[in-house]
């Protein structure tokens, strides 16, 4: 049998390179690359290559873990870094595997498409000489004429959705052409998906921003805390929307073993598609992103921002407002700093924790519940000589303590204080005071645009469709041959399945039953 599958199934390409010079060598390499065996090996390599990325911390997933790893094992980390193991999925070797796989894929399916198109037009083949060697072979006699039997056979086979072809004294039939179409669709759709993914990573972008409730955000690169553009992205691609976060509410499980587990997050926002357009409101929740102008806004996280007022030694307000603190654990013990570089005569800095539900245990003050039931601010304070603005960007979550001195409490210990909302403390030596006025919440928003996503999705859906065709359609060939012996018509029916046999015998039986002498004859025989 020569059909598409067999052609491709046939012997693996010769494994010895030919001595035919460059062209021969190139052709040999190409054939090696596009063979099933190579595809199999590359699939295994892809599976194997994906694994380290789940075991070793990855820069795009968790950069902090990567730097922790560097600190813990500096020499190993260097080796890992050499092999791109901290960013496996963008590493040269991982890319090489999947690029080879996709070249192999294209090299494999494009020629197959040609073969398939030809096979589509091909007629069902002639019956082989010895039908009785085929599975499900049946032979019987009838009084109907050869022509009658062949006509009835053709009709029956067509009814069973076979494509038929008449030969001299025989009918050839074939069914299941769509299997190969499904297989091709599957492999081509994988290419489509890859194009979609590549498109998204070239032209898309993703940024995150932390917005304290009551504040706004307008979409420009400078406003983001963190921004990852695709290679082909330009800032003009950012749609000019803006939004304001008006409220945020989180609820938590209050009893049982899951006490403290989050139950809902809900941010009330208003937004404008562009400065001129009307304001609309939206209820932003997890699993319920806002879509503006082709851009998605997701609610990624939340936290607390204590509102404090810092007065300096001269009684002037040196800092006032909410300062976002970053949650460190499931009960939202949040770490943060407050900087008052303009305080005089000494500049001031504070560092410590916001505890939404504070209790004191042996280790000191901790938070025991994520909701703000008993908020407290636990801090320590620093002072230093006023320093000129250096213009160097500094993290708002870290205090540069190199030029600062920690206050002490006059008894030889470092100064530490705990404040409830409304309380304040005066710093030693008339250097100023800090008051904890109240607290606000903040939300972390992600703004992203991934243009190829729909293409990738369509690709996978088509791939599944093709896959089902390729897995569930079973090509079958069937032949009916007639011959006249001693005045009676001898009919032979036989078939052949490609791939695992599925009920071939039953179908040959059924076809034979239709062609066999009619029931009245049988009854006569029985009588």
């Amino acid at each position: 049998m020569t059909d598409v599958k067999d052609r491709l199934d046939t012997p693996a390409p010769p494994s010895e390179p030919p001595s035919l010079g460059l062209v021969g060598w190139l052709r040999w390499s190409w054939r090696q690359l596009t063979s099933m065996r190579t595809a199999l090996v590359l699939l295994f390599l892809l599976a194997l290559g994906a694994v380290p990325g789940s075991l070793i911390p990855q820069i795009p997933v968790d950069p902090i873990k990567v730097s922790d790893f560097y600190e813990a094992n500096p020499s190993l980390a260097e080796w890992y870094d050499k092999f791109g193991l901290f960013d496996v999925y963008k590493s040269v070797w991982f890319s090489a595997i999947y690029l080879l796989l996709f070249i192999s894929l294209i090299g494999c399916v494009v020629p197959r498409l040609g073969v398939y198109l030809k096979a589509l037009r091909a007629r069902p083949p002639k019956p082989p000489r010895n039908l009785n060697r085929l599975p499900g072979h049946q032979r019987f006699e009838t009084d109907a004429s050869e022509a009658e039997v062949l006509a009835a056979a053709t009709k029956e086979l067509r009814k069973r959705r076979f494509r038929t072809e008449s030969y001299d004294g025989a009918v050839g039939a074939e069914r299941g052409y769509l299997r190969e179409a499904g297989n091709l669709l599957f492999h081509f759709s994988l290419i489509l998906t890859l194009i979609g993914i590549a498109w998204g990573s070239l032209f898309g972008y993703r940024g995150t921003v932390l917005v304290v409730v009551g504040n706004g955000f307008s979409n420009s690169v400078a406003q983001y805390d963190d921004f990852t553009p695709g290679r082909a992205f330009t800032p003009d691609d950012l749609p000019p929307f803006s939004l304001t976060v008006n409220s945020f509410k989180a609820t938590f499980e209050t009893e049982g073993p899951q006490r403290g587990a989050a139950r809902s997050f809900d941010a009330g926002i208003t937004y404008q598609v562009s400065p001129e357009s009307p304001e609309k409101s939206y209820d932003l929740q997890v699993n319920h992103p806002l879509s503006v102008d082709g851009t998605q806004v997701h609610l990624l996280g939340h936290g607390y921002a204590p509102k404090v007022t810092v007065r300096d030694g001269q009684g002037q307000i040196a800092f006032s407002g909410p300062a976002p603190f970053l949650p460190q654990d499931a009960n939202f013990s949040s770490f943060g700093v407050i900087k008052a570089p303009d305080a005089r005569p000494a500049q001031l800095g504070f560092e410590g924790f916001f505890l939404p539900t504070a209790v004191i245990d042996q280790r000191g003050p901790i938070s025991v519940f994520p909701d703000a039931l008993n908020p407290a601010l636990v801090m320590t304070a620093y002072y230093g000589r006023p320093s000129a603005e250096e213009g160097k960007p500094q993290s708002v979550y870290q205090l540069d303590k190199t030029k600062l001195t920690q206050f002490d409490d006059g008894k030889g210990d470092k100064l530490r204080f705990q404040l409830a909302p409304g309380q304040s403390i005066t710093l030693p030596d008339g250097r100023g005071s800090i008051s904890f006025d109240s607290y606000e919440q903040w939300v972390k928003l992600q703004v992203s645009h991934t243009p190829g996503l729909n293409l990738a999705l369509a690709g996978i859906l088509l791939a599944i469709l093709g896959l089902m065709g390729s897995l569930f359609i079973h090509p079958r060939r069937t032949w009916v041959r007639v011959r006249t012996e001693d005045g009676r018509t001898v009919v032979e029916v036989a078939g052949l399945d490609r791939g695992p046999e599925r009920g071939l015998g039953d179908e040959i039986d059924a076809i034979s039953t239709v062609l066999k002498p009619s029931r009245s004859v049988k009854k006569a025989e029985q009588a």
Binding site: A50, S54, L55, P257
Partner: protein, 318 residues
């Protein structure tokens, strides 16, 4: 019924189902062991039983009848246990007022329900009794571990899990997983049977227990069919529904989270399995090994990743 009653009904049904699965496992063990005792030289003359399996004449007949009875009892017990298991999962879901896969305990009872469902669904169509031993082992073990080690009381879900895409994603993955499990077990038995067939061809005797079960070729066919059913479902579950849900919940469709990585690895290994079946020199035993490898990777993804690797796919309560 209020949710506390439902929860206690569930807490009654699931352990009972575990015990009955264990009894079914016992019955299937008897089925196999009574056949193993008589390892006679292969006989030329064979009878064909109603279900197409071969029975040699005549000494084996008594043993074979005993095996047959044990097998039937095993299947009956499995059906009974499955009904209680399904009831247990259902009441658990009703008690929590949501889909029953919010934590490892629920996940274990639901995923094993999928294994039982795939097995029982194929039992009649594919004459799958010969897989009873493996399937009841997996079910009894999974439920046993769930009840003894993973149990947490019913509670509500984390906000990220409130999405119907999650329902689609997890049910597709769990049913595909049921298929992979049945397919993996069939591949294991295929390897055992095909080894016995090769040895028999060399004149070594085949045990009666192995003679009772279908030919290696038939097992291979079943393994392929189950994988062919599970693979598209897995593709849909982890490469369509999963990313769509992740996109809504976390703002990215794919983030190389350990669970995502291992789902992809599982997918690639099964793609390799389907390729192996079409590659000269890889059909048959090597392809079966690839299928078993796929199952191991799948199991690691379902269990190991949750316990060993941190990531977004952490379940509340464990």
């Amino acid at each position: 019924m209020n949710s506390a009653t439902l929860a206690s009904v569930s807490n009654l049904l699931v352990p009972t189902a575990t015990v009955i699965y264990a009894l079914a496992l016992l019955a299937h063990t008897v089925e196999w062991s009574s056949g193993l005792r008589v390892a006679k030289p292969a006989e030329k003359k064979v009878l064909v039983a109603a279900d197409g399996s071969e029975i040699s004449e005549p000494e084996d007949v008594a043993v074979s009848l005993r095996s047959e009875a044990a097998s039937r009892i095993g299947v009956l017990l499995t059906v009974l246990a499955f009904a209680m298991h399904a009831g247990g999962v259902l009441t658990r879901g009703l008690a929590a007022g949501r889909v029953p896969w919010g934590n490892m305990y629920e996940f274990a009872i639901t995923a094993s329900l999928a294994v039982g469902a795939v097995y029982l669904f194929l039992l009649k169509r594919q004459r799958l009794q010969w897989l009873g031993l493996g399937v009841t082992f997996v079910l009894a073990a999974t439920l046993g571990i769930a009840v003894l080690a993973l149990y947490v009381p019913a509670a509500d879900l984390l906000p990220a899990l409130h999405s119907y895409w999650l329902v689609i994603h997890v049910s597709a993955a769990a049913i595909a997983g049921g298929g992979f499990t049945v397919g993996g077990l069939a591949s294991i038995l295929y390897l055992i049977k095909s080894r016995a067939e090769r040895r028999e061809a060399d004149g070594k005797p085949m045990s009666a227990a192995l003679r009772r079960v279908p030919t290696a070729a038939a097992m291979d066919g079943v393994a392929y069919k189950v994988h062919a059913f599970a693979f598209p479902l897995w593709t849909f579950g982890v490469l369509v529904a999963g990313p769509i849900w992740a996109y809504y919940a976390w703002g990215r469709a794919w983030g190389w989270d350990p669970k995502e990585v291992w789902s992809l690895v599982t997918w690639v290994v099964y793609a390799a399995y389907l390729h192996a079946r079409a590659t000269a020199g890889w059909r048959g035993r090597r392809a079966a090994w690839v299928a078993i490898g796929g199952w191991v990777v799948f199991l690691f993804n379902f269990i190991g990743v949750n316990l060993l690797l941190s990531g977004f796919h952490a379940y509340s309560g464990l």
